[in-house]
């Protein structure tokens, strides 16, 4: 009865609130938003004497941004689409940032101070080719030199002022690929050097005004070139031949081509495959041979001569003109935990202008890129600053021997996320602290009271806001009663693990994955996924929780895997192991050993399955459940889903007793001519479901089919696998399946004619909600499918249930042939979707909300009640009371329901939810280029008082009431006495 009352009250509460929203002054109290740009590819400094010093960067996340050189803050930032990769960036006319993107087919100009787009030009592109952007460096602003762009087989000259294409030249027929464009200053002739099929060098002299070819020279090179090229002066380039053993100097003075070959073996004894470091140095060349960096001076007649070599792995910057026709460049190399930054003159390598040694965090890895900039100090000498990109993608500015600022850009490429608890706080607080907090507490509440009684002055309002942000120690590093403080563990693409605090999003610790064996083959494993390894709660309370990071050495699927166990509290690696087999899939099992370590199975490419942890206890637990462990693989390219069962130990092949062989049990083959798998999904394994029954308004019972072994598969016809709108409705259809992964039985199949992917789906409890495009209606649609169990439906006798004579809690098996029926309904949805997630709470009682990551990089919270197949056009009174919303053809988008409110999570890729200890509340973390975190209460915080609750008002009310009671008592006593005396 109590539950019934509770549920009814809950329903009553939840039906009273239709949407989640917050007040303006609540923004930023529980949520935080961090802006990133990603790993920097190009950087262009803009350090004029006047105005703010800035650096323009383009990144691998397709971001072009302007950063403040003093603090590293983002002045402005534009995130281009995922397919709009930036090929080049430059500054034209001193006021425009020029970016070339999409393989040289889109040229854009952005206003330098504020980042407004000035113009955009689509360039004609016929084929895939390397693209090249050449922005003239002209000091005279009045003269308009064109921007030369090569891409897609065409050479374009574009006016920097308005983006107008001045002329274009078609090179598609010859297969000519431009390698270098040289624009000698003060001349209207430009030199375009390129290769035809990497065997013939061609130099065109083109009039930059008209685009006419003034002269053309070509010369065959019998050996063929590799693609690497370095231009050393205005009339010379050095390339590598196709065998990578000969350096070829190509001179093209006045349009004449000359080759000069220099074998690498002439330069150094230990020859090998050479690599040109693509640095722009004048009359100098950097070649990497056998992990040594050689500096090769290019003489007047193309003579090559080694002048210096560095044994360490070195990153170099382009050369930069310093005073008196001198050029300098920066190089950075490691030595232990330090890095050495050196700035040298190109012509005199012995003349080191700057030598700085900086202590560097081990967890940043090696230096990947260096960008150098100079400035004139007050004593008129040259000062240098260097922007370096580290292996973990972080960006640092070095100046005067110190790190001026750093940005953790690895967080722009989060691949996997999990959450972890913080350590328990220590009991016992000192008296002084209590007194202090008591005073603060009272002061704060008086302020709040003022605010709620509308008596607060503007200063008070500011103070209240500050107090709220600081309040309740939300940034402490200990566990709290409500479970609001947690750690978000984020694994990034460069293999760095970050722990972020939910209170303010700061980095608590970070750790770069290391190779356990330090072998040459695997210098740095890349992280794949993250699992909860040990979550102590009942026994083993004194152990720290830990996570498992699964990594891989190399990019192909047969590369050996690396496991790393990381302590969550300290961020230290407990152990790591080179497991000696490949990692195809990782499967956390629902069993833990006596120290609460979760058992994991890792499948390799040969079809063997390996058990972790490798302890005898784990083995005995696994042996007990051996018959009941299955795994399946989805081969999307072939359209096959295979189910496997454990067969036996593979001790016959190897001596490893933790290795098991598998046997194929079932296959589901989709016809390749009509169906192509585009999406699969299962329930989250750690999701908690409160009840197995769904109660209708007329007390009718439906039993949910709640199974973890259910796979949602969406297929489209192969023609419709492309872009939306590329096929006619007749040609495309979308089919979704619900497949039992134990038996391979297809439980449900639903076909949508004239529909197309991409399919974004979410699977929770007994329902799937998926989003796709309807070609006939030209609209996006959302469909909900709820799965119910028919075989349990006869359990309706109350007396049997009261006496416990039912089989509803008995363990079930997939082999008992489940009879399921489904209910589904479709709605239009006005927005394109990037990802969908669902809220999750500790006990699963609170009603759910769908979290829809929209194309605008915002997150929309939509009540599950809107996607309920029981919605009808005219719900009865009882159904209305239950909270069923009248059916509409379109799902509503309520502006207040955007949980990201004014923020955008640029480049949104995923949303992760985790329960807090308070049943009403859930943590939401969204990642993309940006990070966003907030706490949500889908049915409002029914189990706690809100932060705005005025305890002072309550206290004052109670005191006033007590006083009133006392006064009236005294008065009544007096009156009675006087009555008696009368």
């Amino acid at each position: 009865m109590a539950i019934r009352v509770f549920l009814t009250l809950l329903l009553f509460l939840s039906s009273a609130i239709l949407s989640f929203s917050l007040y303006e002054d609540q923004a930023g109290l529980t949520d935080w938003h961090q802006r990133y740009i990603g790993k920097v590819k190009h950087a262009v400094f803009h350090t004029q004497k006047t105005g703010r010093k800035r650096v323009i960067v383009s990144t691998e996340e397709n971001v072009v941004a302007s950063l403040d050189l003093r603090h590293g803050e983002i002045f402005w930032r534009h995130v281009l689409g995922t397919k709009d990769a930036i090929d080049g960036v430059g500054i034209a006319l001193g006021k425009y940032v020029i970016t070339l993107s999409s393989e040289g087919s889109t040229l854009r100009a952005w206003n330098l101070p504020d980042g407004q787009m000035v113009w955009e030009t689509s360039l004609h592109s016929a084929q895939h080719s390397k693209s090249l952007l050449s922005v003239p460096i002209n000091l005279k602003v009045d003269k308009d030199y064109p921007i030369i762009v090569f891409g897609g087989g065409y050479l374009h000259a574009v006016s920097a002022i308005d983006g107008e294409v001045l002329w274009k030249k078609d090179f598609t027929a010859e297969g000519f690929e431009v390698q270098r464009v040289l624009q000698p200053p003060g001349s209207s002739i430009i030199y375009v050097l390129g290769f035809i099929n990497f065997s013939e060098a061609v130099v065109y002299q083109i009039d930059s005004k008209s685009g006419e070819v003034v002269a053309e020279k070509s010369m065959m090179f019998p050996g063929g070139f590799s693609g690497e090229i370095s231009s050393v002066s205005s009339d010379k380039v050095v390339v590598l031949d196709s065998t990578r053993s000969i350096l070829v100097t190509i001179g093209f003075i006045d349009g004449d081509i000359s080759f000069q070959k220099t074998p690498i073996s002439d330069l150094v004894e230990d020859s090998g495959k050479a690599e040109i470091l693509s640095a722009l140095l004048s009359n100098m060349l950097a070649v990497k041979v056998n992990k040594r960096t050689l500096f090769v001076k290019v003489g007047g007649e193309g003579k090559l001569e080694v002048v210096d070599s560095l044994s360490d792995e070195t990153a170099m910057s382009d050369s930069l003109p310093v005073a008196d026709d001198q050029e300098a460049f920066a190089s950075v190399h490691h030595e232990g935990s330090k890095i050495h930054l050196m700035v040298k003159l190109v012509n005199e390598l012995d003349n080191v202008l700057l030598r700085e040694t900086i202590q560097m965090d081990q967890h940043r890895g090696r230096v990947h890129k260096v960008f150098m900039n100079n400035y004139i100090r007050t004593d008129r000498s040259n000062g240098f600053r260097a922007l370096i990109v580290m292996e973990d993608h972080s960006l640092l500015l070095l100046q005067q021997g110190a790190i001026v600022w750093s940005r953790e850009e690895g967080l722009a490429s989060v691949t996997d996320v999990t959450t972890a608890e913080l350590p328990l706080g220590k009991d016992g607080v000192s008296v002084a602290k209590v007194e202090h907090t008591l005073f603060e507490w009272l002061k704060g509440h008086v302020l709040k009271l003022k605010g709620s009684l509308l008596l607060a002055s503007p200063e008070d309002v500011v103070a209240i806001q500050e107090l709220r942000v600081k309040s309740s120690g939300k940034n402490k590093l200990t566990r709290d009663h409500n479970g609001f403080r947690k750690l978000i563990l984020a694994l990034t693409r460069p293999g760095k693990l970050f722990a972020l605090h939910t209170g303010d999003g700061r980095i608590v610790w970070s750790m770069l994955l290391k190779s356990p064996s330090n072998s040459q083959a695997c210098e740095r494993p890349n992280g794949i996924s993250l699992y909860q390894w040990q979550v102590p709660h009942h026994h083993a309370m004194d152990e720290n929780p830990s996570v498992l990071v699964v990594g891989k050495c190399g990019s192909d699927s047969s590369a050996p895997g690396v496991l790393s166990f990381v302590d969550v509290y300290t961020g230290k690696e407990i152990s790591s192991s080179d497991i000696g087999h490949s990692v195809v899939q990782v499967m956390p099992l629902p069993f833990t050993d006596s120290t609460e370590q979760r058992l994991h199975l890792i499948a390799d490419t040969v079809g063997h399955v390996h058990l972790y942890p490798k302890t005898s206890e784990a083995l005995s637990i696994f042996q007990r459940e051996f018959q009941n462990v299955y795994w399946y693989t989805v081969e999307a390219d072939d359209g096959i889903i295979r189910g496997h069962v454990m067969k036996g130990s593979c001790s016959s092949e190897t001596a490893d007793e933790y290795c098991f062989t598998t046997r194929e049990l079932w296959t589901v083959v989709f016809p390749s001519e009509s169906e192509k798998i585009i999406s699969t999904l299962t329930r989250k394994p750690n999701e908690v479901v409160h009840t197995q029954a769904k109660v209708n308004s007329d007390q009718d019972l439906l039993y949910k089919y709640v199974s973890r072994n259910l796979l949602f598969v969406a297929t489209v016809s192969p023609k419709g696998a492309g872009e939306i709108g590329s096929v006619t409705p007749e040609e495309s259809s979308l089919v979704v399946y619900l497949i039992d992964t134990i038996t391979g039985r297809i439980l449900h199949r639903l076909s949508h004619q004239g529909c197309q992917g991409p399919v974004h789906a979410v699977f929770s409890e007994n329902w799937v909600v998926y989003h796709y495009f309807n070609l006939r209606a030209h609209k996006y649609e959302v469909t909900v499918v709820e799965i119910y169990d028919q075989s349990r439906a006869e359990n309706k006798n109350v007396w049997k249930l009261i006496l416990g004579k039912h089989n509803l809690t008995a363990p079930i098996t997939s082999y008992s042939r489940p009879e399921v029926f489904t209910k589904s309904q479709s709605y239009f949805f006005a927005q394109s979707v990037k990802t969908i997630a669902v809220t999750s709470t500790a006990k699963g009682i609170t009603s759910k909300q769908l979290l829809i990551g929209t194309i605008g990089d915002q997150i929309l919270a939509l009540d599950k009640r809107f996607v309920d197949p029981r919605r009808t056009l005219n719900p009865s009174q009882a159904e209305k009371e239950e909270g069923i919303i009248p059916l509409t053809d379109t799902l509503p988008i309520i502006p207040q329901a955007y949980i990201t409110h004014s923020h955008k999570v640029e480049g949104l890729r995923g949303i992760v939810t985790a329960p807090s200890k308070l049943e009403s509340t859930t943590h939401v973390f969204a990642y993309g280029v940006d990070l966003f975190y907030t706490r949500l209460a889908p049915s409002k915080t029914y189990d706690s008082l809100t932060d705005d609750f005025s305890y002072a008002l309550l206290l004052i009310t109670i005191v006033a009431l007590v006083a009133a009671i006392y006064i009236t008592w005294v008065l009544s006593e007096k009156k009675e006495l006087s009555e008696k005396w009368r």
């Binding site: 891989k552 462990v629 197995q692 019972l701 973890r708 992964t741 109350v798 809690t809 098996t813 009371e881």
Partner: protein
């Protein structure tokens, strides 16, 4: 009910003593007025007291019946209030329902006390008590019925199944796309 209780429960406030004790000759200092015959009055006394006792018994029985029937009025009022409260769960309807349950229960508990003033070996109190009980049980039934219409009684299968967690699964599976 309340009225009867108030009258009978608190006892008498005043009484007229008809049998005068001052007839004892030694204490008599004032002579009887002329023409007053004391003997005739004393003769009447026994008949008078019997008559008086009968009247009291019938009066007690009448009062007992009144008390026994008093819950009926209550019942009617409760019914009306329940009808007013409606069938949705909110503060008013819950308050009414619980008072409708509480009143009969408390009345049933104190049924002996209520009929105590009417106790008399000449008065047959069984029937009034039974009526009183029946009416209160009726009130209780009304309350329970109201509770049920509010949906607060676990009479449906859903009330028993909702608290059951989903069953454990025997088999476990995992997998999905191959890591690239």
């Amino acid at each position: 009910m309340d009225k009867g209780k108030a009258v009978m429960g608190t006892g008498r406030r005043w009484a007229v003593e008809f049998s005068d004790q001052s007839t004892v000759p030694s204490s008599r200092d004032i002579l009887d007025p002329p023409g007053f015959s004391r003997a005739s009055q004393e003769q009447d006394d026994s008949a008078n007291s019997r008559q008086k006792k009968d009247a009291e018994a019938t009066w007690k029985l009448q009062k007992a019946w009144e008390v026994a029937q008093s819950p009926f009025k209550n019942l009617m009022m409760m019914g009306f209030m329940m009808w007013m409260a409606g069938n949705t769960v909110h503060l008013f309807s819950i308050g009414i329902t619980f008072s409708a349950l509480w009143q009969p229960i408390s009345a049933l508990q104190s049924v002996g006390k209520i009929f105590e003033p009417f106790k008399d070996n000449k008065v047959e109190l069984l029937m009034p008590k039974l009526v009183f009980l029946a009416l209160n049980l009726g009130g209780l039934a009304l309350g329970v019925w109201k509770l049920n219409t509010l949906g607060l009684l676990p009479t449906h299968a859903s009330d028993w199944v909702s608290s059951l967690p989903p069953p454990q699964e025997v088999e476990h599976s995992g997998g999905g796309f191959v890591f690239h």
